[in-house]
Symmetry: C2
Subunit: 418 residues, 2 copies
Amino acid sequence: MNYQSFKSVEGGICAASGFKASGTYCGIKPPADPSPDIKHKNDICLFASDVECNAAAVYTQNKVKGAPIIVTKANLEKSGNKALAVIANSKNANTCNADGVEKAQAMCSLVAKEMNIPEEKVIVASTGVIGQVLPLEPIEKAVPVLVKGLCYNKHLEAATAIMTTDTVKKEYAVEFKIGGVTCKLGGMAKGSGMIHPNMATTLNFITTDCAISAGLLQKALSEIVKVTYNCLSIDGDTSTNDMVLLMANGLALNGEIDTEGEEYEIFKKALFEVTANLTRMLAKDGEGATKLLECVCDGAKDKDTAITIAKSVVCSTLFKAAMFGEDANWGRVLCAIGYADADFDINKVGVKLKSELGEITVCRNGSGVEFSEEKAAEVLKSDEIYIFVNLNDGSESATAWGCDLTYDYVKINGDYRT
Amino acid sequence: MNYQSFKSVEGGICAASGFKASGTYCGIKPPADPSPDIKHKNDICLFASDVECNAAAVYTQNKVKGAPIIVTKANLEKSGNKALAVIANSKNANTCNADGVEKAQAMCSLVAKEMNIPEEKVIVASTGVIGQVLPLEPIEKAVPVLVKGLCYNKHLEAATAIMTTDTVKKEYAVEFKIGGVTCKLGGMAKGSGMIHPNMATTLNFITTDCAISAGLLQKALSEIVKVTYNCLSIDGDTSTNDMVLLMANGLALNGEIDTEGEEYEIFKKALFEVTANLTRMLAKDGEGATKLLECVCDGAKDKDTAITIAKSVVCSTLFKAAMFGEDANWGRVLCAIGYADADFDINKVGVKLKSELGEITVCRNGSGVEFSEEKAAEVLKSDEIYIFVNLNDGSESATAWGCDLTYDYVKINGDYRT
C-alpha cells in the first residue's frame, strides 16, 4: 500500500527551502564498479542548510558502532542539537578501524574549514564494508569539490552517492500546511542489506523547512522511527552504522511548533508519510529481492504486540523463501507468529494473503481453511505481497516491511567485499 | 571438532539394551518421492522398550504447538513420566489442523491397542508440512506392520523414517560405566530446516539402559539441551514441533542414579556427547548447506553471555552467505557480536577463523588486523569452519552450531510443499 495523504513533491532532501546538496566520485568505490547508471558512481556527498537547523537523530543499537556514529553523536551533543551540514560516503563503513574516530573527525573538520562553519555542526555518516581502513586522501580532494558544487537541485547527486548494493535511489518528499504556511519535508535513504534496524536504518536523511522546536523534533522522529524504519527487515542483521537524521531549518517561516497540538500532529503525519514511503522503497530494493512483503497485524491488544508479530512474519527466512517460490506455505506464517515474543491467543488468529491480483484466506481460528492452490499461485505472482494477520484480540495494528529471500541475495553476499 | 571422550558404539536408539525399533512406508510421503536411498522412503516409525522407562522431554517454546506436542505432554503428565513406546511420522507436522489433537491421540491409541499397553505410555511425534490435514487411514494400516516389525537392530528403519529434507540420517551412541556396570546411551535426530531450537529441535529421541531417577533424568536433559540443541540454528525459524525425548529403562542393572554425585556427572557427560554430536550432524546437514559453522565464544564473564554471542554469529544471514562465498568478511562477525543481547566490551574482542587447512586472526581489540586474503581463502575452502571469538572478559565459554546460506537453501524452501 502506498502512503499518500499529503501532496508528494519532487526534490528529496532539497525539497525544503534552503537545503543544497552535491555529490561526486572520489575513489573510495573502485573505478571499475560496473554500474550502468553513471550517477551511481558517486561515492561521497554533502548537503547543507543556508541557516542553522534543529537536528534530531536516532542511531543503531548495535554495540559495535561505526566511528561516524560516535563522532556525530558527540558533535550534536556539543552543538546542542544544531547542525548545518552533512557529509556521507559509501563503500567503506569506517567501522572496527583503530583510526576510525580520528578519520570521521577529519571528515567533519575538512567540511568545517572549507565552509567556514563550526566543526561540531557537521554530521558525518559512512556505509559500506566493515573493518577496512578508510583512505582520507580522496576525501581531502573531494571536499572542496563538494562545497563548490552545492546546489538547491542536486539532491540526486547525493541520493546516488550513498548507494552500495542498492539498485534504485530512494527519495520522497511531501508538502503540508502549518498555520496556513506551506512547509516541505523530504528525505533520502540508502540500504539494501544488513537491514534489521533497531533504532534506525543505515543512512536516512530527512530535511524540512518547517519551524519546530528541537525537543519536539526529536520526539516526533523517535515515535515515527518506531513504526517505520524499525519495522523493516531485509536480513535480520542490525547494521553498525544505522542512522536517521532529521534537520529542520525553519525557513518556511511558519510559527514555530513548540507544543503537542494539532500542528505537531500534522508534522508527525508528514514525517510518517515520508519515512513510511522510504521504508517501503528500502524493503522493495532489499538485496536480491524480487518481491516486497508487507505484513499488517491487526486486532492486537496493544501496539507493541502488533509490531512484534508483523516483524516476526517478514523476518522468517522460511516464509521469505516460500514467497520467492510463490508457494502459499502459510504454515510458516503461523510458525513465525508463534515464536514471536508476544502474548495472544493462537486459536483466534486469522491470516489472509493478498496482492493486486487477488486475495485468499488461508487460516481462521489458528487452523487452516481450504483454498484454491491455483488462485493462491495467481495472487503470489505479484511483486508486492500483503500478509494480513488478525489476532482478533483488540484494536491495535502495525505494519512491517520486508522482502523475499532469493538466489541473488546469496550471490550478492557470498562475495560482497570484492 | 568432534566430541569423543567415551567409546562410540553402533545402534543409535537401539544401542541401549531392551530397545526395539521398526519403520515402514505408509503413504504420507508421496509415492514418487525421488529419494535415491530406499530407506529414506520410510515415513513412519515405532520404537519401544521391553520394560517401562522413566521419560524426560523438552518441547518447543513456539506458541503454535503441533498437536503431537500437546498429546505427548498430556500423556507424560498422566503416566507420571513413564513411557513404553514412541510413534513418529514425517512429511506432515499435524500442526494448525482443527482435528490435530484427535488424530495424534488416535495414533497413540492405535499403538496402545496393538501392543496391549496403556495409551498414556505412548509418545507421539510428527514432522513435515504445517497446516495440512493428516490422513489417518495409512497410519491405521501401518501400526500392525510396525508392531510386528519391532527388532533390536532396526534403528536405521526408524532413523530414516523421520527424515524430511535431511540428506543423511543422524545417529550417535556411546558406552559408559556407572559403578562398574556398562551402560549405553544413543539417539537419533531429524532436522534440516526450520531449525532454531528454543528448548529442543524437531524430533530428537535418545534412549539409555542406565538406571536413573525420573527427576535427575529431566534435570540432565534440560541442562544439556541448553548447551547443545539450543545452541543450533539453521535458519532462525523455531519449529512448532520441536521435541527431545530421553527414555531410560534401567536394563543395564546399575544401581539407580538418584543423587547428583560423580555418577550423575558421568551420565550427563555421556548425554552431552551424544547430543553434541547429533547437534553437529544437524548443523552440517542444514538445508542446502555446504559448510558446517561452529562458533566458540571464549573469555565470557558468564555462560549465558557466551551462548548469546556464539549463537548470534552462527545466525547472521550475512555471515552465513559470506561463508558460502568463502569470503573472510569478518566485519559481519563483529556486527553480529554487536547486536547480540549481551554485555561485554567490544574493544577487547578478538576473532580467529580456523579450519583443518589453517588459521587466521582477523580482529584484535575490536579492530581489524592485516591478514593475507590468500591464506584466508585457503582456510575457508574447508567444509567445516570454526570461528573463535574471545571476549577477554572472563573464563566462561560456549559453542554454537550453524551452516552457510546457499542457493540450495532458497531452492529447497521456495518450493517445499510440492
